[in-house]
Amino acid sequence: MPEVKKEIKIVNRLGMHARPAARLVQLTSRFSSEIIFKRGSDQVNGKSIMGVLMLAAPYGSTIKVIARGDDAAAAINEIEDLFRSKFGEE
């Protein structure tokens, strides 16, 4: 099963608060691949809003994204685009 990993930096000033988290899980839920976010020793389900919120990732921090499944590469690309777009903030 294809597995793609990528480290993505948080570039929106407010970090991963509720609204970006909601947009993120709306995106990840569209993929069939399993998606995991890692920050430090924490590892969470990338499709779970409570999981993503738990990371409390601030501006400038890095999240490691792991996608496993047929659409893993596409998922990683779109997740990266969303992070880069600052979740529509600013």
């Binding site: 407010l14 970090g15 608060h17 509720a18 909601a22 709306q26 601030p58």
Partner: protein, 312 residues
């Protein structure tokens, strides 16, 4: 109710206000357009400027004793001036005996005159409250109304989505049915909505496969309620995989009924979703918001605080 007639007013309040029609029967077709009540007072002296003539008039001790003190000729004159204004009806409080001239003039022009044993203030208050409800703008909504933990919840959604089953489930858990599939909604004091069912089908429901059931008889009088203020609207809809449903609860959606904005939640229906439980939680969440605690905002604030502590 648009264009309430004096006759309808009399029929529905004669018991409560202990009204007796004493003159002006031919004026029962007159319309009552506003709920306020007026004490004519100065108008009887001939001062008709600013006379609130569209209101129902209540004659108390002051008016009656003033009229009694006049000479018959003057009395007739003053009553004539009073009745020249288009007024819907008069009520004489404390069962005072009205002057003969008042009754004959009322009969001639066709202004209904009632007598009531109630004291003036109480009569005025009861009359205003009852009229307020009777002349309030109203509409009907095709939905269910249930009281859940004290919160009046409208449940709507297309036919067959499970509204009735969900309502029944709530009733079975001890909540109260107001109405199934039809709500008569009144705008109260221009600010809030009061819903009730139709008198004829009250507390009955139709459940597919079972037919018509009488909820009051089956579940008891504690499981029904005649009317309830509407606080929250829930729309049930078949789960649409393409659609994004609310995930946070930070943004509020509203449903406008008679110009009042009711907080609105869309609940997708899918296998394994216990709708009655979800509506109970929605009602509790609504209550706690009214008490000043917003779960989603509170958690978002905690997350933001944590993020700013960890800022690199």
């Amino acid at each position: 109710m648009k264009g309430l007639t004096v006759s309808q007013f009399y029929d529905s309040l004669r018991g409560k206000l202990e009204l007796k029609l004493v003159a002006g029967e031919k004026g029962l077709k007159r319309k009552i357009l506003i709920s306020e009540i007026n004490r004519p007072g100065l108008v009887l002296t001939g001062y008709v400027k600013f006379f609130a003539n569209r209101r129902g008039q209540v004659l108390g001790k002051v008016e009656i004793s003033y009229l009694r003190g006049l000479s018959p000729k003057l009395r007739k004159e003053k009553i004539h001036i009073f009745f020249q204004q288009k007024i819907p009806f008069c009520i004489i409080a404390r069962n005072y005996i009205p002057p003969r001239e008042l009754l004959s003039e009322a009969d001639r022009i066709g202004i209904p005159i009632f007598r009531s044993p109630l004291v003036t203030t109480r009569l005025t208050n009861l009359c205003t409250i009852a009229l307020e409800e009777m002349v309030a703008p109203s509409t009907s909504v095709i939905a269910n109304l249930v009281e859940v933990y004290g919160v009046g919840v409208i449940i709507n959604g297309q036919s067959g989505v499970g509204k009735s089953e969900c309502t029944l489930s709530l009733v079975e858990r001890g909540h109260r049915l107001v109405s199934d599939d039809y709500i008569n909604v009144h705008l109260m004091e221009g600010t809030y909505l009061l819903g009730e069912g139709s008198e004829l089908t009250r507390f009955h429901m139709e459940i597919r496969g079972l037919g018509i059931i009488d909820v009051r008889t089956l579940f008891g009088v504690g499981c029904v309620r005649q009317r309830k203020r509407i606080d929250l609207a829930v729309t049930l809809e078949p789960w649409d995989r393409e659609k994004e449903y609310e995930r946070l609860g930070l943004d509020e959606d509203y449903l406008s009924i008679l110009g009042v904005e009711i907080p609105h939640i869309v609940l997708p229906v899918g296998p394994g979703r216990d709708l009655a439980l979800l509506i109970e939680v929605a009602a509790l969440n609504h209550r706690i918001k009214l008490m000043g605690y917003h779960s989603a905002q509170a958690l978002d604030k905690q997350i933001k605080d944590r993020i700013s502590q960890g800022r690199i």
